[in-house]
């Protein structure tokens, strides 16, 4: 079986190489049969990579312990769910997973655009195949998932495997990597179309319209993946941290920042024909940051709680990144004249400017995180000194930037395109602005003394108020005009322009997440060793240890503390924090007990047991639930933005008076 898998990968490697050559030669020599065979080659690669993936998954599920990867990442007693997840649980498998997703994305992209973009398709095929070739090189020649265990050249097997890292045996961790990968890999498609358009010097912005939904879906996957990782850290690691600025976490957020900047900036090109160079730079940056993120987690260049071990693949990633970045820079510089802006910026106080500021702050965030991630490595190289750079330092750096971004989230959408009058500013900002000041005053009078929390909550009110006002004004107008109720009017309004109002919902999701972050300074902690029958206090909660139980399963041993929770003398709940000790990996993990409410979470970790004493780490985390609610709203908003608008539009791009009319693009499509 493993030989068939390895052969499939080798064939996929060869066919990817053929796809590049056939597509490029076919396009340059105007040989349609060659370009068509290049497209078919992508489908063949998909079939072969899927076959290889199927063989690996079968080996994992059936427990073929002759294979090194299976022996390293599964064991007999693991539930099938986690055996399947072992596909992306290790270095080799995760790289194969990359290839599988890329080949699937490539096949879908080529199939759906086969008639509409004949001129771009050969280049799209060549670019996607070049990326595929890189990953297949790693999978075929450097870190093959199909290596077998052997002693003196005789294939052997082990009785049982080492199992998946126990920390990864959690439902969110099973779906977190696929979502993140779908986001990482997905950006290859908009990137390929952008570069193909640049190579072909295609007039207009067809690559943007073609890839708008790809970009949005990919961004949605990235956002969901990052949020799932955050939820995993909160629920599994045992101390309630939902974001610790770990290098691997940072690797996931870097392309998200750049992708978010691109999603905003691209609107300027669609509507005004501006920022063409910048959008090329952003879509390329996002893609290369996806590759860079993969490099960070796999090269061992940075240490992390969940990075893969140091491996030889780092230099290949560096070479691929260097080549790719150099090629893109050359292409952009060579075709600068084709990327000229079609319009002028009329006013500094306009939607266009707000997008520019938004881009500045998002990229500054991206750079700051990148800098913080690499700073320990750079310092060690330059001064041979190791430094400690934990979440506290990152928070000091990132919180002010984040708050400014939150401010722009509220301000930006309320500026009109082209220019905004003072009257309009007053109309849009007066009430939210006054409300924001009142909220800040109330918080201060109420005794809150954490400046960042006060600023954050006040800004949350400001942004939420501006969004609610936008919905209210539009819905009221529709309600009066169509003589329908307010709720149907809200739905009608949203359906008329799903992109705009979906975007507002996404912003509302961000606001709710910031409400959650604002609770952080009010966290309360109590750690203690508690006898059976004794109590400990955390915040307003009293925890009484009723019993300490233990048990055994084939996969792990467990210990549970049964706790009676009371507040103000009233019993309110019974919680059962658990510890598991996984036999194969010889590693303990926590299954925390959580009492989650909108105002605060009571979070208890059963850290250790000594005789009849339980070491309990109890925390009260205010407002954390709002982070997860915000994520759900963000996902919902993105899905709304993906729904085609009710009113299909077709109209000429707006020109700024006095600009060259010949540059105007005749049609944009909304649906």
């Amino acid at each position: 079986m493993e030989n068939v898998g390895a052969l499939a990968l080798l064939l996929a490697f060869c066919i990817s190489l053929y796809a590049i050559v056939a597509s490029v030669v076919g396009r340059l020599k105007r040989k349609p049969f060659l370009t068509l065979s290049g497209e078919r080659a992508v489908l063949a690669v998909w079939f072969l990579v899927t076959t290889a993936s199927g063989i690996l998954v079968y080996s994992l599920m059936s427990g073929d312990y002759r294979m090194a990867y299976v022996a390293s990442h599964t064991n007999r007693d693991m539930p099938p769910f986690y055996k399947f997840a072992a596909w992306w649980g290790g270095q080799e498998g995760s790289l194969l997973f990359w290839s599988f997703l890329l080949s699937t994305y490539g096949a879908v992209a080529i199939f759906t655009t086969r008639r509409s973009h004949r001129n771009l398709l050969p280049w799209v095929v060549a670019i996607l195949s070049a990326i595929q070739l890189f990953f297949l090189t790693l999978n075929t020649f450097i870190v093959s998932p199909f290596q077998v265990l052997a002693v003196d050249r005789v294939v052997t097997s082990v009785a049982d495997g080492m199992g998946l890292n126990p920390l990864l045996q959690y439902w969110a961790m099973v779906i977190h990597p696929p979502f993140l990968y779908l986001g990482y890999v997905g950006f290859a498609v908009p990137f390929a179309f952008a570069i193909a358009s640049l190579i072909e010097k295609v007039p207009g912005d067809s690559w943007i319209h073609t890839t708008r939904r790809w970009t949005l879906v990919t961004w949605l996957f990235q956002s969901t993946g990052v949020a799932l990782g955050s939820a995993w850290a909160y629920h599994v690691l045992g101390w309630g941290g939902y974001w610790m600025w770990d290098p691997v976490e940072n690797a996931s957020i870097l392309p998200w920042f750049a992708g978010t900047a691109f999603l905003h900036s691209v609107m300027m090109q669609e509507k005004k024909g501006m920022m063409k160079v910048w959008n090329m730079v952003l879509v390329s940056t996002t893609f290369f940051l996806c590759i860079f993120g993969t490099f960070l987690t796999r090269s061992g260049i940075v240490s992390s709680v969940h990075a893969f071990a140091e491996s030889p693949i780092g230099k290949y990633f560096v070479s691929f990144l260097a080549l790719g970045i150099a090629a893109v820079i050359w292409l952009i510089l060579d075709r600068l004249s084709y990327l000229k802006s079609e319009a002028e910026l009329e006013s500094v106080v306009s939607r266009e400017s707000s997008f520019l500021f938004n881009n500045l702050i998002l990229l500054a965030s991206c750079f700051a995180v990148l800098w913080g991630t690499l700073f320990p490595v750079i310092t060690e190289k330059l001064s041979n000194e190791k430094i400690s750079l934990d979440a506290v330092w990152f928070n000091r750096l990132m919180v002010p930037i984040g708050l400014f971004l939150l401010f722009l989230t509220g301000v930006g959408p309320l500026f009109a395109w082209r220019r905004t009058s003072i009257d309009s500013l007053r109309k849009n900002f007066q009430l939210p602005g006054i409300g924001m000041l009142i909220v800040a005053a109330c918080l201060l009078i109420g005794g809150m003394r954490y400046p960042y929390s006060i600023i954050s909550l006040s800004l949350c009110f400001f942004v939420a108020a501006t969004i609610v006002m936008e919905f209210f004004r539009g819905s009221r107008a529709i309600s009066e005009k169509m003589k329908i109720g307010f709720v149907p009017a809200v739905i009608e309004l949203t359906h008329r322009n799903t992109r705009r109002y979906g975007g507002y919902l996404v912003h509302m999701g961000i606001v709710l997440m910031f409400i959650g972050y604002s609770g952080h300074p009010f966290n309360q902690t109590s750690i203690g060793e508690v006898d059976k029958g004794s109590v400990m206090q955390v915040g307003a909660y009293t925890l009484k240890v009723m019993d300490l139980t233990e048990g055994d399963t084939p996969n792990y041993q467990w210990e549970t503390a049964i706790l009676d929770v009371s507040k103000n003398g009233q019993h309110i709940d019974t919680l059962e924090p658990t510890r598991r000790f996984y036999k194969a990996a010889q590693q303990a993990t926590a299954i925390v007990a959580l009492r989650s409410r909108l105002n605060e979470d009571l979070y208890i970790n059963y850290a250790a047991r000594t005789g009849n004493k339980a070491t309990l780490q109890a925390y009260v985390f205010p407002l954390v639930d709002w982070i997860w609610i915000g994520v759900l709203v963000l996902i919902g908003g993105t899905l709304v933005a993906l729904i085609p608008a009710k009113v299909a539009r077709s109209y000429a791009r707006t020109e700024v008076v006095g600009m060259a009319k010949k540059n105007a693009t005749p049609v944009t499509n909304e649906a």
Partner: protein
């Protein structure tokens, strides 16, 4: 004999470290400068992996707490660990470059943005929207502008 035993128990109770004591802010402040030596990670001893029960970190935090109780300041505690484990155990605070570079790049980005806006504005200066009454009063331009506003508003 009973008195001696009672004394010993009292001393032991006084010296015993509770979990919350070794998790105090004072201990953690020093802990950020001492690297975990478990061999499986490169965190500092405040690391929460293994629910804070790591075989190196927990005793190390206990030791820090004891040294602090004995009157040693942060530098002395760290120096003691360096003497025992070598310089490799020390983790310094980031220098000012950590702060300066991101904010400097933000400022540089702002500068670039200024020039971008200036360039996108063409020959016009960076004047606010309300400036230029002559343009605002031009009925022909106003007609165009209303049409443009209508079009772009629908595009959002």
């Amino acid at each position: 004999m009973k008195r001696s035993l009672l004394f010993l128990v009292l001393v032991a109770a006084a010296l015993a470290q509770t979990e919350s004591e070794i998790e105090s802010d004072d201990v953690k402040r020093v802990g950020t400068h001492i690297a975990c030596q478990c061999g499986a990670c490169s965190e500092n001893i405040n690391c929460n992996m293994s629910s804070g029960q790591c075989h190196f970190c927990k005793p190390a935090r206990t030791k820090v707490y004891k040294m602090q109780r004995a009157g040693m300041n942060d530098d002395q505690v760290i120096a003691s660990f360096v003497r025992e484990y070598g310089q490799a155990i020390f983790r310094a605070d980031p220098n000012s470059f950590f702060w300066v570079v991101p904010y400097l790049s933000l400022a540089a980005g702002g500068g670039i943005l200024y020039f971008v806006i200036k360039r996108l504005r063409g020959t016009k200066g960076l004047t606010p929207a309300t400036a230029g009454p002559a343009i605002d009063n031009d009925p022909v331009l106003e007609k165009y502008r209303a049409q443009i506003e209508k079009d772009t508003d629908r595009l959002d």
